[in-house]
Amino acid sequence: MALLSVDNLKTYFYTSRGIVKAVDGVTFEIDRGKVLGVVGESASGKSVTAHSIMRLVPDPPGKIVGGQILLGTTNLLSVDEAEMRKIRGSRIAMSFQDPMTYLNPIVRVGDQIAEALIIHEGLDKTSARKAAVEAMQMVQIPSAEEREYDYPHQLSGGMRQRILLAIALSCRPELLIADEPTTALDVIVQASILELLKDLRNRLSSSIMLITHDLGIVAELADDVCIMYAGKVMERASVDLVYSSPGHPYTRSLLESLPSLEAEQTKLKSIEGDVPDAISPPSGCRFHPRCSYAADSCKEAIPSLEEVERGHWVACIRYDQLDAKEA
Amino acid sequence: MSNNHSKGKKTVLVSTRKFWWRFKKNRAAVGGLLITIAFALMALSASVISPFDPFNMNFLEVFHPPSPSHLMGTDRFGRDILSRIFWGTRISLLIGFASAGIATLVGVPVGSISGYFGGRVDEVIMRGVDVFLVIPTFFLILLIVSIFGGSVWNVMAVIGLTSWPSTARLMRAEFLSFKEQDFVEAARSVGVGEFRIILREIMPNAIFAAIVNASMQVAGAIMTESSLSFLGLGDPNSISWGFMLRDALESSRIAPWNAIFPGLMITLVVVSFNLLGDGLNDALNPHLKEK
């Protein structure tokens, strides 16, 4: 049985300009000990999906309107808030994108890590502090015993991101959701965080849901990939399958737009067009206006995720015609 | 956009019709406006609507409680309180509007120039303005009025001249933010001169903030004036609600109506101007109120 099973999740935002269907029927699974990469452009709904799993969607204006989220045997959408608070931080934990704004500026970092331990494991302040230092060491922060008394503004961006990870991992959650852990950092620091994540993946038994727009990180870290676009899942499979034989036109475009070190390139290939308007998306397949394989039938019905081969799911009605007809 | 500039039109970011529609929805603000108008009418028609001469002393009717002939009772000189309330409106509104007017007339240009041109000019002006923030202006006003006399003109001038710094600060902030905006860039690129930009592009938009501020300042000035009168400064020959309260201080035990009504009036006027200002503010910046 999978650790996390998300089934037809729908999260809408009710604004004065209309209903934003940020997540519109998303389905995927994460197995124990595995890493799932959730990839997409901005406004693809990947972050909202993560917040929905944690039930951190601000209500108003957001609301989870449908679907099911199973963590083991627990349906996360049916438990009450008190129960959910026990789950947050202990069974599922999340680390966030911008390490500066997601840390409380007036609380020492050691205390911010220790807080989760005090809440969920009932530790007293001294033991929690000690465990916090261990967590800091686990995320490879040097001189952790001194660093624990620092305030966030005294640390560098990479350090702060490690603190966020330490906070999330302090209670050894079954699932870690890492929301864009490298995006706000500069390239060199990104590499070190990536190494850290690899190390954590090998050492810990937690599953990881890695949210990112960076296909490179996914290739290095993830076992499976889920490609999202405009609130829907376009393709889902193991990393090998997706990178070797991408099924969906969107995936293909994404992979093609990666600059290649080997082949000669004069121009970077990008996907034409813009991300669709979330309030009034295109009819039928959300990607069809930008798709080079689009046919008239693509405008009519929303394609559902079909298992086109074992463990490989694609949401495209022209899937089998793609290799034959290159537009 | 460039059409506007060549035709000499100004760029206004707030549509007047939408503004009124939003304002009308806010019942408190409309209430404030109506009460303000009521008081203004009261002030203008005081001589007509007052049942008695407010200065007329009648020692046979000292400290009479409210009755059909004296709806608000009489004070220690037998004067009709209701009539004095009506007449007191004049002083309050006069000083209120005049002070706010002076503060606006001085503060808007100073703040605009400071915000728009920045640099040395801005620094020097702001230093001066900051001094006013730290000094307790009420006591400065008190000192000046006690030495120079509490005539209506003095009080007006002093309150106005000590409150322009806050208006200046506000206008400076408005200009600082507006001068970076696109429509100003557009005007500059077409070759519109600096002063024209200030007057026809930015000012029509920034002035709304000044109007809101002015409303609050009227409220503040009325409060200051009544406080001054209460302490004994102010024109002893005129009728002011603050003065009435000062009179009532000794006699409030035996004649509480002396104290109740004037203070009630001050509260009502100040509330109405504050509500009006709040309502104007909300109508101009609706996005700030959205949940």
Binding site: I119 | A248, T267, L275
Partner: protein, 330 residues
């Protein structure tokens, strides 16, 4: 405790404070010299009521010498500044004592009232502000917001008079005037002061709370939308922990900044309240000096209040620097 960051901040604030105090002294000087009549008239005013025999002979000459009244203006200014800094604020003929003495006698009563009123107002404001922010736009919130608007518009001296009418005259719960009952000693004295203190402090506190509650609410709502609150929620923090441990402590910082700016307003309120309740502090002193035309006292009070404002702002800044680790540590 005093880190380098803090020391730097205190030093920079002190550097700014001195020119401000100097400006106040200069303003004092300027006003008297711009006024109709000569400065001597103002210094000697009150003498008519104070001294039955008139001004003693030779006094005028002594005064002229001391303040250099026949010297050029800028020299007079320097003399004046030096005198003030030495503590000489002039002489009151009404009280027949140096101004500085009269003021320092009345100062403690004012401080007692003002600080108590301030504390009450801030506490009330914080509590209601936080409660309002917990459920914005709810019934409680609307009631609080509306009542704070009205309280803000009520003249504080009238509020005091109404309190007097109701709680003292009608209900006879509290004394109406003064600071204590005459002839009372020891513990009973403190009780007496407390009962006299209640209504004035209540008036000051209620009038102050109106502004603080609005600001606390706004500050809390802003903090609650910050990202680190999401982190706290993702850790499974309880509602109490989120509001009080995470949000309020951050919301306090901008509130402390605002508090400093409110000191002039607080002092004005204090003066008016003292007048209503005949509380023997600087406020009542001011009220009486106005009617007796005792200008040296009025000037002296203006100066003292300016200094209090500047010092209070300094204290607020230092408190802010202490509370915000971003300033305390580098």
């Amino acid at each position: 405790m005093l880190t380098i960051g803090l020391k730097k901040m205190v030093a920079s604030r002190l550097i700014v404070a001195f020119p401000l105090i100097l400006s106040t002294i200069i303003i004092n000087f300027t006003i008297v010299h711009l006024a109709p009549g000569s400065p001597v008239d103002y210094m000697l005013s009150g003498a008519i009521s104070g001294l039955p025999g008139g001004i003693p002979p030779g006094y005028l000459e002594a005064m002229k010498a001391k303040f250099g009244l026949d010297k050029p203006l800028h020299e007079q200014l320097v003399l004046y500044i030096v005198n003030v800094l030495k503590g000489d604020l002039g002489f009151s003929f009404v009280y027949n004592r140096p101004v500085i003495q009269v003021i320092t006698e009345a100062l403690p009563a004012t401080l007692l009232l003002t600080i108590s009123g301030f504390v009450v107002g801030v506490c009330l404001g914080l509590i209601t502000g936080v409660k309002s922010s917990e459920r914005p736009y709810s019934l409680t919130d609307n009631v609080v917001t509306t009542s704070s608007l009205w309280l803000w518009s009520v003249p504080i001296f009238w509020l005091g008079m109404m309190m007097l009418l109701l709680f003292s005259f009608q209900l006879n719960l509290f004394p109406a005037q003064g600071m204590s009952d005459p002839g009372v000693k020891g513990f009973e004295y403190y009780l007496s002061v407390a009962s006299h203190l209640f209504l004035p402090v209540a008036t000051l506190g209620v009038a102050q709370f109106a502004l603080y509650t609005r600001f606390t609410r706004a500050s809390m709502l802003e903090i609650l939308s910050k990202d680190y609150i999401t982190t706290a929620r993702s850790k499974g923090c309880s509602r109490r922990a989120i509001y009080y441990y995470h949000a309020l402590r951050n919301a306090l910082l901008p509130i402390v900044t605002v508090l400093g700016l409110r000191v002039p307003h607080l002092l004005m309120g204090s003066v008016l309240v003292e007048t209503v309740f005949a509380w023997p502090g600087l406020g009542r002193l001011l009220f009486e000096s106005i009617s007796r035309r005792d200008y040296p006292i009025i000037q002296g009070i203006f100066l003292i209040f300016s200094i209090i404002t500047i010092v209070a702002n300094l204290l607020m800044d230092v408190t802010y620097g202490y509370l915000d680790p971003r300033i305390r540590y580098k």
